[in-house]
């Protein structure tokens, strides 16, 4: 029997003034899935992810994560969400350790000292734990951003173009962390422009165009080479 979806979105509409960005979007994710949300610039990927993260209010429609409704039960949703965007969400004038301590205190994480050390180890920043974040390279900041996002051990992780601005080595390292996250059974939704990377990581591809999901396919249904064709066809048909 199919499990109930962990994320369920029905007829989602989002407007900024007179401009409608999401037009009745429907979306479902099963527990443990790794969904790559693909689409051109301006398709509404970031807006959609911000609504899932409770950073933006929908104009209409229904959004449920686990069994909590947004925006009514936003605080409960935020407890089970980890969010990584192309910005690190970290304070440059605090050290790596202090940043994690700060977020850990806000989340009310027990045995915080130990937890922070484990997270720093996971993202490979133990040696730089006492350095100010503003001295970190973009890749190191992004690794620490992932550490911040997994600090409270969330069940659902949202990644908004996490590879933006990273060099090849940093991308590789980020991919390894993403695989680790997925291997440990976390549900992941990641927006990306990079089809090759999405093909490598995700278990499902959804194409978002003009505020709607226009195509969806499981990784098992196609090879990496077929993904580009699938993506182009989805955009042409939208």
């Amino acid at each position: 029997m199919e499990k109930p979806p962990i994320i369920q979105v029905k007829r989602l509409v989002k407007r900024f003034g007179l401009k409608t960005v999401l037009h009745g979007l429907d979306f479902e994710v099963q527990p443990g899935e790794f969904v790559a949300l693909l689409g051109p610039n301006g398709a509404g990927k970031t807006t959609f992810l911000r609504i899932l993260a409770s950073l933006s209010r929908p104009a209409m429609g229904e959004v449920r994560i686990v069994n909590y409704r947004l925006p009514q039960q936003a605080a409960a949703v935020r407890r089970i969400l980890g969010v990584v965007s192309h910005l690190p969400l970290l304070y440059g004038d605090l050290t790596a350790e202090e940043n994690l301590h700060f977020y850990g205190r806000i989340y009310g994480i027990p045995r915080l000292e130990r937890r922070v050390q484990e997270v720093l180890e996971l993202v490979g920043l133990t040696a730089r734990r006492r350095d100010l974040v503003r001295t970190f390279s973009r890749g190191m900041q992004q690794r620490l951003a992932i550490g911040r996002a997994v600090l409270h051990d969330p069940e659902v992780m949202l990644f908004d173009e996490p590879h933006t601005g990273l060099d090849q080595d940093a991308c590789q390292m980020l991919d390894n962390v993403l695989r680790e996250v997925a291997a440990r059974g976390r549900t992941v939704v990641m927006t990306s422009h990079d089809l090759a990377r999405a093909a490598d990581l995700a278990s499902r591809f959804d194409v978002l165009s003009r505020g709607r999901i226009v195509a969806s396919a499981a990784r098992s249904e196609m090879t990496s080479d077929q993904l580009l064709g699938f993506y182009r066809q989805a955009l042409q048909g939208s």
């Binding site: 950073l55 910005l87 969400l89 202090e98 806000i106 009310g108 997270v119 051990d153 440990r184």
Partner: protein, 248 residues
């Protein structure tokens, strides 16, 4: 409605976490404390905010000192006005910088993602700004006393300074969190802030002037009451609307 049960997967890291929802008040106070600590720790490192506010405030009172060649009585008469102009302009610098720090690297989103009542974020920022404002005032007041030969160390004046500063940062923090989301945040904040602050400035200047000139308390009380009511009303308004201001 049936409760959906989703098995939580094995922990990402070896430590088994048991992050249960803490009592709402405990979570609120913890977040409040963490935000104040973070603001102070970051400022201790960078010293950007305090140094900018302080240098600006000292320059303003120095310029007024040279611009207005005043006799002893007039000095007492204008002291309150000069002081509050100084606090208002220096405070705007601090408020802008304090919220800009949250906007850099998307930190405001990081705070908004926390599973706490968002008013804790507002109050955390507000108390952080109040501490910076009071630190600047603690340095500016003695310097002003020396430059203008005016005794500012009167309990009544200190109460007015506290009440005025509280109202100023209450409104300023709210409007700064609105302005920071626009491209023109540096110029937008004073344009939004100063008209709303007019009742507070009038009350603060009148009450401060009253204490400096030795006016009877009967005449000062209405201004003190106005300050108090202003603080209570705007803190309550900010508590209610902050969530809507910061969310898209």
């Amino acid at each position: 409605m049936e409760t959906q049960k989703i098995e939580k997967p094995a922990p990402m890291i070896e430590t088994v976490l048991s992050i249960e929802s803490p009592p709402a008040r405990a979570g609120f106070l913890r977040a409040l404390g963490a935000i104040i600590w973070k603001d102070l720790a970051a400022e201790l490192r960078s010293r950007e905010l305090l140094s900018a506010m302080l240098v600006f405030a000292l320059l303003v009172i120095l310029i007024f000192n040279f611009a207005l060649e005043l006799d002893a009585q007039t000095r007492y008469n204008v002291a309150a006005g000069v002081l509050w102009v100084t606090f208002a302009f220096a405070g705007t610098l601090g408020l802008n910088r304090s919220m800009a720090m949250e906007k850099d690297r998307g930190c405001l989103d990081g705070l908004l993602l926390a599973p706490v009542d968002r008013s804790a974020i507002y109050f955390g920022k507000m108390f952080g700004n109040l501490i910076f404002m009071l630190l600047v005032e603690v340095i500016v007041l003695p310097v002003y006393s020396l430059l203008y030969n005016v005794n500012l160390f009167q309990p009544g004046l200190i109460v007015v300074t506290l009440l005025g500063s509280m109202g100023y940062v209450a409104v300023g923090t709210l409007l700064a969190s609105m302005a920071v989301q626009t491209r023109t945040r540096d110029i937008l904040l004073p344009i939004l802030l100063f008209p709303v602050m007019i009742p507070l400035f009038i009350a603060a200047v009148k009450a401060s002037g009253g204490f400096l000139q030795g006016i009877p308390m009967d005449e000062i009380w209405p201004w003190l009451n106005l300050l108090l009511v202003y603080d209570v009303v705007f803190i309550a308004v900010a508590f209610m609307v902050f969530d809507y201001i910061v969310e898209e």
